[in-house]
Symmetry: C2
């Protein structure tokens, strides 16, 4: 089906557009009262992720409520570890918890890379979403990056330092590569089926990239990201968002994704110096800026758009924080939508 | 008293030294069995911080056990908020907790900047340490930076995002400046008294710098850091370690501290490109590297030393993690001590 609002897709191709497209990471989520209503009717977040009808509903909510230029399929990066053989829980106020983690070669060998049969609920969610979305905006599918999933699969939970995962990386580099390769194979299978089902763009989230250094990122992340991007790029555009990995931006650019996501640590001018003005980038307002007053939000948004110049998809530099006031999110979105280059 | 091992002080002055000096952030701490013995004999970490005799003992332990080229006074960055009027607790496995936080102008006005009378236990610890240290190595004193202390005083605890503290920054910029100025005044009084008592160098830790962007760092951090450095620099050398603030390194350099601390996200060559080869820098091995085998630790350490070149104080890029094996810490320290330029 032809996409009616194709601003995002034209921007990704480097076309000269009238204004930058805008959407928000985590736009389908707790900032919306209609999401909270759905969420509260269920027994937990994971139950929502596994319900295709409701996935479609919450995916489309921000398109209706905020008027953003893209929908992103409501899901979770941890569905892949689960499908590979490591089920998880979400502990209230603590985050993800894996009762079983990877500790040895045999643990790695026991994992499957044939994840798609277990992830049918995700693909069903895509079908339902596309049906209900009626081509209004493009639908983005996503996956965690290999290293970020590796972090959870070794550490077993969130962490400020991911020191257990990194210990494994440095103590067992060969096993680490073996695990990263298996995760990569699973991601390729998973994201390509998303494309088969009709998503218009794939975003890869390397959320914990920032715990590494340049050399480790080059060794343990870049080759796998390249493999994923190469498998997808002939089919759909790909966005690569490695949070905190400013130190690897040159390497990341050479991976060849269509769009590079940026966090708010990097200023637009620093990003343009590193990546050039032709690189399509996505980001990067500080999510906390949406706590400020309308005038300050608008000033910061316009300043960011002007400093990035063309080849820019407006977003925050991270997922929108759950306690962000909805009217401030609208101020942000509407400010972008009234802008003209 | 003349310092016998003055390698650190000569390096800070830019002198041509035979090898780089080495010490570790958090070297006085849980990596040492003798520290754990002292710690377990007391009712809590804060009780230890407030005991000058024991502070001297644990400060000197790593000089004896590891043979490092500097001692750093065992203390806590949160003694300043406490002395200003916000007492805190340390909750097991959760970190600092402030029952009372800053929420309004009157909260800020109620804070005192006359902190030294309440911090006499710190100065007593310096006296005892210098007496027992007998000039073997220089003694480093430290303080949290204004923004990092501000984070705890608003947020009331640690946080991945410090979104409450940043909300205050963006919603109440004037009050934020007022609070940052009061914290700065307290830090200046506190660190200058440390110098009066005889510490040889002051290190300022801006541990949460990395939650900001270039513009906010320029507005809310740089002017206060400059004020502190200017008050100290005629008297002792100053090290400024703003973790995660690579985006502000040019501004940080212009503050004029003698030494710039670096985390492991930045490679030596990236740091030298940004700061030049004359800038004395401190850091920056990934703390997780000390989980690796001896050969890998030595290779990474030598590589780092060679890439930084002269004008370098060897350290980790963050405090040593508490579960680091002691023999690996020794491998690291001994490797630096056998190196010759």
């Amino acid at each position: 089906m032809q996409v009616k609002n194709d601003l995002l897709l034209r921007t990704v191709k480097g076309e000269k557009v009238e204004r930058p497209p805008v959407w928000l990471m985590r736009q389908a989520g707790r900032i919306l009262p209609q999401y909270r209503a759905v969420r509260n009717s269920l027994n937990g977040f994971i139950a929502l992720v596994k319900n295709p009808e409701l996935v479609a509903e919450v995916t489309i909510q921000p398109v209706d409520e905020l008027g953003v230029d893209a929908a992103i399929l409501f899901s979770d990066i941890l569905v892949i570890p689960e499908a590979m053989g490591l089920p998880y829980e979400l502990v209230e106020k603590k985050g993800p918890y894996f009762p079983k983690v990877i500790q040895s070669k045999s643990d790695i060998e026991a994992l499957t890379t044939e994840v798609n049969p277990q992830l049918d609920y995700v693909f069903g969610g895509i079908d339902k979403t596309l049906e209900k979305l009626e081509g209004r905006v493009p639908l983005i599918g996503f996956s965690g990056a290999p290293f970020t999933l590796f972090c959870y699969m070794i550490e077993g939970s969130g962490s400020k330092t991911f020191s257990k995962a990194k210990r494994f990386l440095y103590q067992e580099p060969e096993l680490s590569h073996q695990l990263l390769q298996k995760i990569t194979t699973a991601i390729i299978q998973y994201t390509n089926e998303k494309v088969n089902r009709g998503v218009h763009l794939i975003q890869i989230f390397d959320s914990w990239a920032g715990v590494l250094d340049e050399q480790s990122y080059r060794e343990f992340c870049i080759p796998y990201l390249r493999e994923i991007v190469q498998s997808l790029k002939p089919r759909v555009p790909v966005t690569l968002f490695s949070k905190g990995a400013w130190f690897a931006l040159h390497d990341i650019q050479r991976v060849g994704a269509d769009v590079i996501g940026l966090d708010w640590n990097i200023s637009p001018s620093q990003a343009r110096d590193l990546l050039g003005r032709e690189q399509v980038v996505q980001g990067n307002l500080d999510p906390c800026m949406l706590y400020a007053d309308d005038q300050m939000i608008e000033n910061a948004t316009i300043k960011m758009i002007q400093e990035f110049g063309r080849n820019h998809i407006v977003n925050l530099g991270h997922g929108v924080y759950p306690d962000t006031p909805l009217d401030k999110v609208k101020t942000f979105v509407n400010c972008v939508k009234s802008f003209r280059y």
